[in-house]
């Protein structure tokens, strides 16, 4: 049987049966912007940053199965414009102050904003009131930066088997909660050794007493833009140390 392939921005990209557009693109080291996707977890298609145009329809690359001969538009002004608008939405929905954030330079949201040339948040800020949870001895939760990607939910549920995180509320009031009657992380069985502790693409889950170990300017996305790191993104695991 001949190799099946999709046509990604005019380039033939091979895929195996069962792979999504995202899987095929990552394997070919072609960058499709994404936030809620992680190669280790079941895709859910909620951030919509990976929206591509496949056979004329807008779809999420991370959940859409690749089909032989499918024409996919990815890196186009139209799609990048839409992605930029969605990034701006994520920025105004939470409280993101990059200059004072411990994850600056290691944050995928920030990296994508640079990648897609987002110059301002554009929309009016929502300024939600999201108190911190510093109850846990090892980990601080700063909900202000949560983008509701559910990676920690999935990691804790599917890998750690602990169900530490979940989502509650709906619409613009949707928010992350932890598995305790008190609502405090200290009252859950969460631990720094959990996969869920290392999966946050932004700066919600932070290890205590370990701030700014690598100076800003020398961090992951300071060195190379995220669009140049597809190989690492495709093979990343949650066990790798944050550098």
């Amino acid at each position: 049987m001949t190799q099946q392939s999709i046509l990604l921005d005019g380039l033939p990209v091979p895929f195996e049966e069962g792979q999504t557009i995202m899987d095929a693109a990552m394997a070919a080291e072609i960058f499709i912007p994404h936030l809620c996707h992680h190669p280790e977890f079941k895709p859910q298609g909620s951030c919509k940053l990976c929206t591509v145009k496949a056979s004329g329809r807008y779809v999420s690359a991370c959940t859409m199965p690749a089909r032989d001969g499918m024409e996919v538009e990815n890196n186009s002004p139209d799609l990048n414009d839409k992605r930029r608008t969605m990034l701006q939405m994520l920025f105004v929905e939470g409280n993101h102050f990059c200059p004072s954030c411990e994850k600056s330079g290691n944050c995928m949201l920030q990296a994508l904003a640079y990648e897609l040339e987002m110059l301002s948040p554009h929309f009016n800020q929502f300024y939600p009131n999201r108190p911190l949870d510093a109850s846990h001895p090892q980990v601080l939760l700063d909900f202000n930066r949560c983008i509701l990607c559910e990676l920690c939910v999935r990691a804790s549920r599917d890998v750690d088997g602990k169900h530490v995180f979940s989502l509650s509320g709906r619409g613009i009031t949707k928010h992350l909660i932890v598995n305790a009657e008190s609502g405090r992380l200290a009252d859950t069985d969460f631990s720094l050794t959990d996969k869920a502790a290392h999966v946050c693409p932004v700066g919600v889950i932070l290890e205590k007493r370990k701030g700014f170990a690598v100076p800003i300017g020398q961090r992951r996305y300071d060195v190379d833009p995220i669009g140049m790191q597809v190989e690492r993104l495709a093979h990343r695991t949650t066990t790798e140390e944050e550098i």
């Binding site: 919509k48 807008y58 608008t85 969605m86 009016n124 509701l148 549920r157 709906r170 613009i172």
Partner: protein, 613 residues
């Protein structure tokens, strides 16, 4: 009912029978939470912990589900909980003023529980009583035709803590208001007529009749019913025990739609016949009716009907005396979430989860309720399947148009003389409908609710049909004196309130648009804001996860195109206007210091002596 936290022991006593009643099944979580709240008044943190332990779910999952639905409360609510229907048709009948009046009479602020825990007053999405509004729900019971006099009387009864059973009966009276009968509403068969007809035909022949009928789903999308039935019938059952399901979508949440309410209350046997016919045809033995929380007051009559059908051999094992033909129906009650009208979100809710639409494919016909092949059909669709069982597919295909066969129920409300239910063959012109319902001076009609289409006068010659103006049934008429901007603003807030929050564009975009509309309404808008609305519309239309987000900006797009002056006369300037009002920002400081002199103001007011705002 109690409004305070009960002791752990008492909590267990109250919850145990509820959880046992559902066999401790985590899939029944939404039902368990609903009933627990009925027993406790609200869902205190300790109750969620106890329920989670009893059904074997992580506590955060249970809290996440409870936090999703509008009618489940994690904080204490008033012993009397008044919710005004917030649809634009209720507004047009004076609901906003009536709610203010009730709040004033009771000395409470909207959305806050009175200090003695007696009462709270707030709004809820359309309650499906647009033909007899203004409507409200008090502790889940529907009340109609509110007036200043009734509101005053209600405030007295609440203050006197009179039990709801002693309130005047006529306040709770709900009319069918059937104004035009055709193929569907003319039927008055005995229970089981359609089921017997289908049994006589056999499943293959019944399916063939469905194919001939070319019946398309009445919930709005218009998918061919035969294809759903055929696919589910063919799909392999995966689970243990192997099972197929018929789900009736009675989550009639589209504002302005109330035809299913009438079918559920006055054509109950036709509906249950239709579900049984569908079950028999596709080889399903279980049917589930998903009833929207707003219609929970229909529950006793529906349950009674099911009990009667079981006694008469129309449900259970051996339907109509035929051995081996089994079918039974159970009712699930929703808890206030419009998005659960989307079929895959509905299935999630049926499984006791947050009502978030699933990724499709796979479609419910192959992987549906509990992973099994499932047909999800609208109430009206199933009633029509019952008609086809009796009269045959060719008869049905002879009604309406070629692509839109049969008749369609319209729920007509707004500025008309005779609001109510109208049964029309598909293909009827909007003008004819307007003429017959007594809409004298209509400037616009919103067809199929906020997610549908807004037609202006020049389009009244168009036809109600899938190939022209498709509809799920809502038909809201706006007279020449109505402000179409306010109509669109109402719809924008509806979508922001009902977005499930799963995907970024819909979660944030619907709220941004609602804020934009408020900014324009407050007189701070400019052409810039209109451009913003268009931009967000274009994004939501293509990037949202489900139909809710994709259609959320439709009413704004339509009204901006057709009734632009309604927007433009509100604009302060045609250029940029900041959303942040410096003078307004000082209001809190003025209130605290008791000052209102010019120096306590910013901008123009501060420069002109003697002017205060």
């Amino acid at each position: 009912m109690t409004d305070e936290c009960v002791g752990a022991e008492r909590l267990g006593e109250l919850l145990q029978p509820i959880i046992d009643g559902h066999g401790g099944d985590p899939g029944m979580l939404v039902q368990i939470l609903r009933e627990a709240q009925e027993a406790l008044g609200y869902l205190p943190a300790a109750a969620l912990t106890a329920i989670a332990r009893a059904v074997g779910l992580p506590r955060a999952r249970v809290e996440g589900v409870a936090g999703f639905y509008s009618f489940l409360h994690l904080q204490p609510v008033g012993r009397y909980r008044v919710l005004f229907s917030d649809n634009i048709t209720d507004h047009m009948l004076g609901s906003v003023e009536l709610m203010d009046r009730l709040c004033n009479r009771l000395w409470i602020e909207r959305g806050k529980v009175s200090e003695d825990g007696l009462v709270s007053v707030d709004t809820t999405s359309c309650t499906g009583l647009c033909d007899q509004g203004p409507a409200l729900l008090v502790n889940g019971r529907a009340m109609t035709r509110m007036s200043a006099e009734r509101i005053d009387r209600i405030s007295e009864m609440i203050r006197a803590e009179l039990p709801l059973d002693d309130w005047p009966r006529e306040y709770f009276r709900i009319e069918d208001n059937i104004r035009r009968r055709d193929a569907l509403l003319n039927t008055c068969w005995p229970a089981g007529e359609a089921l017997r007809a289908a049994l006589a035909r056999g499943p293959e022949a019944m399916l063939a009749e469905m194919r001939t009928s070319n019946l398309r789903g009445r919930g709005g999308a218009g998918f061919t019913t035969y294809i759903k039935w055929e696919s589910a019938r063919r799909a392999p059952c995966r689970g243990e025990p192997p099972e197929r399901y018929i789900v009736c979508n009675a989550d009639e949440g589209e504002p302005g739609t109330f035809k299913d309410r009438v079918l559920l209350s006055s054509y109950t046997d036709l509906l249950f016949d239709g579900m049984s016919v569908a079950g028999f045809t596709i080889g399903a033995t279980r049917g589930l009716l998903y009833l929207r929380g707003e219609y929970a007051y229909l529950l006793p009559a529906l349950r009674e009907n099911l009990a009667r059908r079981r006694r008469d051999g129309l449900l259970g094992t051996a339907l109509c005396g035929q051995d081996g033909v089994c079918f039974d129906i159970e009712i699930h009650v929703g808890a206030g979430a419009y998005v659960c009208g989307e079929e895959s979100a509905l299935l999630e809710s049926l499984e006791g989860k947050r009502g978030v639409p699933r990724i499709r494919p796979p479609f419910p016909v192959t992987v549906g309720y509990r992973g099994q092949p499932t047909v999800v059909n609208n109430v009206e669709t199933l009633c029509k399947a019952a008609l086809i069982a009796v009269n045959g597919g060719a008869w049905f295909a002879g009604l309406g148009t070629k692509q839109s066969t049969g008749t369609k129920l319209l729920s007509i409300s707004g500025d008309v003389e005779m609001p109510g239910i109208y049964d029309y063959p598909f293909g009827v012109s909007v003008a004819q409908v307007l003429n017959e319902c007594g809409a004298g001076n209509a400037q616009a009609v919103q067809i199929s609710g906020p997610s549908g289409t807004c037609l202006g006068m020049h389009e009244f010659s168009r036809h109600v049909a899938f190939e022209d103006v498709p509809t799920a049934g809502a038909f809201m008429v706006f007279g020449a004196h109505r402000d179409m901007f306010e109509v669109a603003r109402n719809f924008a807030h509806f979508f922001a309130h009902e977005s499930c929050g799963f995907c970024t564009p819909c979660r944030v975009g619907t709220s941004l648009v609602a804020n934009c509309m408020d900014k324009i309404a407050d007189g701070h808008g400019s052409q810039y804001d209109i451009n913003e609305i268009f931009k967000i519309h274009r994004l939501l239309h293509v990037a949202s996860h489900c139909g809710l987000g994709q259609s959320a900006c439709n009413p704004l797009f339509d009204t901006l195109n057709k009734f632009r002056p309604a927007y433009e006369r509100r604009l302060r300037s045609l250029d940029f206007e900041p959303a942040f009002d410096l003078d307004q920002a000082l209001a809190a400081a003025r209130q605290m210091t008791g000052r209102d002199d010019p120096a306590a103001h910013f901008g123009l007011a501060a420069r002109v002596p003697g002017v205060t705002t």
